[in-house]
Symmetry: C2
């Protein structure tokens, strides 16, 4: 009998008819059963008369499979397989744990250290390989990426493959990167299996690197019509992609990048998202994380109508936000009782856009502040040689990193890991310590006090629990150094600090 | 006939009874009349049988004065004086102009460039003189200062004089800087004229330097009971101080520093402020600016109950806020349709408190951002040698400045003045330019685009009006340099910038 590890993918392959439009005409599901707990999942058409059903088993033991179809060749097929314990480096999917943070399904620690390369899987093969090599060198454990190709400044090349059959009928105008692409020549009822195979192979490679694919299902940055397929086609596309990808343990469903912009430009209306969100939640047999991401940052905008999507909806597992107001992270965690990931807090780069001209120090500073305030954080890099350059830019294409913030982010990642931060409990988030970012281990035995660009030469950490004594290490986040700090730390005791930028203290209760 | 300049102070001195408590028992007012426009103002007792009535005339021509009193020695006294045109450097009081900004009464430009030395007038004479000398060397045109002495960390010395008769009956405890000082030995019904003469002499000296006295009438930082006098005594004290000081053209009424803390610690309840605010507004014959200042910064606090005072009250002329959320300044200006002064946005220093450990660069950066977003901004400096040091610290005592931000603030002040910014019209306050601070002259002929710590090597200033062309100067805010910039600027044209920190562009329409 076939054996697979828990949380890996079981795949059943069947041959069937190629008549009509198999993507829409053929119904195929399969019921997976273990200990009388049946789960029914959708299959999908993979082209050339090949049909597949995939499933990520989560229990140890013997599963049986039986298919159901409206065509006899695919109906009533049976199979069985055995699921064995997960191997050492297989921790399962990331799930919400303890309401406001994350963990792998096996209970091991997961704090989101994201990066962003929206359209890396539709770049030339060499760039895809470079992207994976860059990821391997760094500690990012999540990447924001699109299913569809991207149309935007610096994203003007056509992909080699399209996600649907057809061709680009219209020539792009100079400024219509958000294109009114209603009739572009694509047949949204016929996905292109080759396109999705490339996507899923890359997701599999990410999993081997221990990286979650925060997969963005819709985006406004479109000139092919994929943002304007209409609700019925959208749901059929979602059914297809869930059938293909829900068995990949490292997939997260990010419904949209900037859903609010999609409404604004007449693509997907705000009212559709609840149905879309519930559909994904109900179709996915593996309970992947699900989020919806904003363009407008309410605290910043005069127009308070531009609010976030209602993150209290039950199908939203965590907040995936775009915001520069990172001191509010603990407030949002408390308010929503869900994990908060600041997926766009300005990228390191020198591009002409405000979201992409932060310094390496600024990107690093945001990471420390978001992470210590209990959130997840996401990196991006936008260095250009000249305006409208054609060379790969990490934020969109992947490729190589030219900046420095990733090294500092790796340093923070290692610091938290080596000091047993399973998650970060935000501390001292208001009042007299507004300039600090302070987080502790859940048991409050270890604390990190990030001072950042401020210059207190004297500090009194009055937010620490009374009566406790701490030994300390002095960290420099930019220099990536950790030194002994020879002063004992208590909540009512003055400490003296060198006047340097980007310092932090790591405290360990004595 | 006595002549005085418009907006200078007319003073009538009378001899009267010293029986009983002249501060409370004697009623004295005077009616000032010009062209059948009578204004009645309160007089005050200045000790030793001397009573005074003061008034700041605002019209050219002959005024008559007649007194009214419940004691015959002071009743029905008459005088007259002539008011002449204001001399060159006398611009009158600062008033709200065009709803959302300020100007002097003669129409000349005023943008608040504040500093803070809360208790400078109760320091030893030498420190008071040093404070004035420091102010003379810099461009600050407003200073936040208390009427009363201050009790707080680093503010532990007793003043030489007290504002009321009496003595400090209780010895201060180690931690009770907000002292439950109900019975401290002071007689709140008997102001100490000597104390107030010193205060007003200093206000007069500030006026000679062109500096507005943003005079804080109540503060929670008290161990003498002055924060707990009760509503009746509070109003009598206000009547007294208005009678003494309303004729000083450079006085602003700042009702409280951190009114919300005063409620929290049981000093002045929130409900009293409306009566206090209206009382000041009604008693003051000269319509000085009036504000009320917060401790809690609502966007930052989890506890959203800690809101600002209701700045829509008609007696509030402008917002005097404490906030680090300086990108919200244009939103607040629009929302309240009043000028906004960020009077505490973190001081340059190395003290143990989060509000006072910003770098010089950070303080400078906040100034540029607040001012270009249309607000007024206030500096403070908190350098200490060691915890609990006794030497003067500018923020509290005045004295000398040891930092660097004041030089950069002077540079910005001169830049705006020399380029005809009568006030700053905030521009491009949201959307793709969130990392910039952009302001223009009211006629939009000149713009300043502040890039700050960001590093766009390429920019496209798409927020500029279409079709306009600008010549530009490249500014470095930290280096205090202004250079020619040889690229023409238009809203759709890429420009190239050196990758340096703290740059700005000054644009002039061609």
């Amino acid at each position: 009998m076939e054996t697979i590890e828990k949380w890996k993918r079981y795949e059943l392959t069947l041959k069937g008819s190629t008549d009509g439009n198999p993507f829409r005409d053929v119904e195929l599901t399969a019921t997976f059963n273990i200990n009388n707990h049946p789960v029914t999942v959708d299959g999908f058409y993979d082209g050339n008369g090949i049909y597949k059903v995939r499933y990520m088993p989560e229990s140890i033991g013997n599963y049986t499979v039986i298919t159901h179809s409206n065509i006899s060749e695919l109906d009533g097929k049976t199979a069985s397989f055995e699921v064995t314990e997960a191997s050492h480096d297989n921790h399962g999917p990331v799930r919400v744990s303890g309401k406001t943070h994350f963990a792998y399904a096996d209970g091991s620690r997961y704090i989101p250290f994201g990066t962003t390369a929206y359209a890396w899987t539709v770049q030339p093969k060499k760039v895809q390989e470079e992207t994976l090599a860059t990821l391997k060198e760094n500690k990012f454990n999540k990447i924001r990426m699109l299913v569809f190709p991207k149309s935007y400044s610096y994203n003007e090349e056509e992909p080699e493959l399209y996600p649907f059959e057809g061709f680009l009928r219209y020539k792009r105008g100079a400024n219509d990167w958000i294109f009114n692409a209603k009739e572009t020549g694509f047949d949204y009822t016929r996905p292109n299996p080759k396109y999705f195979r490339n996507l899923e192979n890359n997701i599999e490679k990410l999993d081997k690197l221990g990286i979650e694919a925060d997969l963005i299902l819709f985006s406004p940055y479109d000139r092919w019509g994929f943002a304007r397929m209409g609700l019925e086609n959208n749901l059929e596309y979602l059914k297809y992609i869930i059938a293909r990808l829900a068995s990949y343990k490292n997939v997260w469903w990010a419904l949209a990048n900037e859903y609010d912009l999609m409404d604004l430009v007449g693509q997907i209306p705000v009212k559709d998202w609840d149905e879309i969100g519930r559909f994904v939640h109900e179709k996915d047999p593996s309970q992947h994380l699900e989020s919806i991401h904003n363009f407008y940052d309410p605290p910043q905008h005069k127009d308070t109508v531009k609010n976030w999507y209602d993150h209290t909806k039950p199908w939203i597992t965590h907040l995936s936000i775009q915001s520069d107001n990172i001191f509010l992270i603990p407030k949002w965690i408390e308010e929503y009782q869900k994990p908060v990931v600041d997926d766009e807090c300005r990228y390191e780069g020198n591009i002409e856009f405000g979201w992409g001209d932060n310094t390496a120090k600024g990107m690093m500073d945001n990471f420390w502040r978001v992470i210590l305030r209990g959130g997840g954080c996401t990196h991006g890099e936008t260095y250009i040689d000249k305006p409208r350059t054609k060379r790969p830019i990490w934020w969109a294409h992947g490729g190589k990193l030219y900046g420095e913030s990733q090294k500092k982010i790796n340093f923070l990642y290692n610091l938290l890991k080596e000091n047993g931060f399973d998650w970060v409990k935000p501390q001292a988030t208001s009042g007299p310590t507004w300039e600090l970012a302070v987080g502790s281990t859940p048991d409050e035995k270890k604390w990190i006090v990030y001072i950042g660009e401020n210059q207190p030469e004297f500090e009194i950490l009055s937010f620490l629990p009374k009566g406790k004594k701490y030994s300390a290490k002095l960290i420099n986040a930019w220099d990536e150094t950790i030194e002994e700090f020879d002063q004992e730390v208590q909540n009512d005791k003055y400490i003296h600090l060198p006047r340097k930028n980007y310092q932090a203290l790591l405290l360990t209760e004595k």
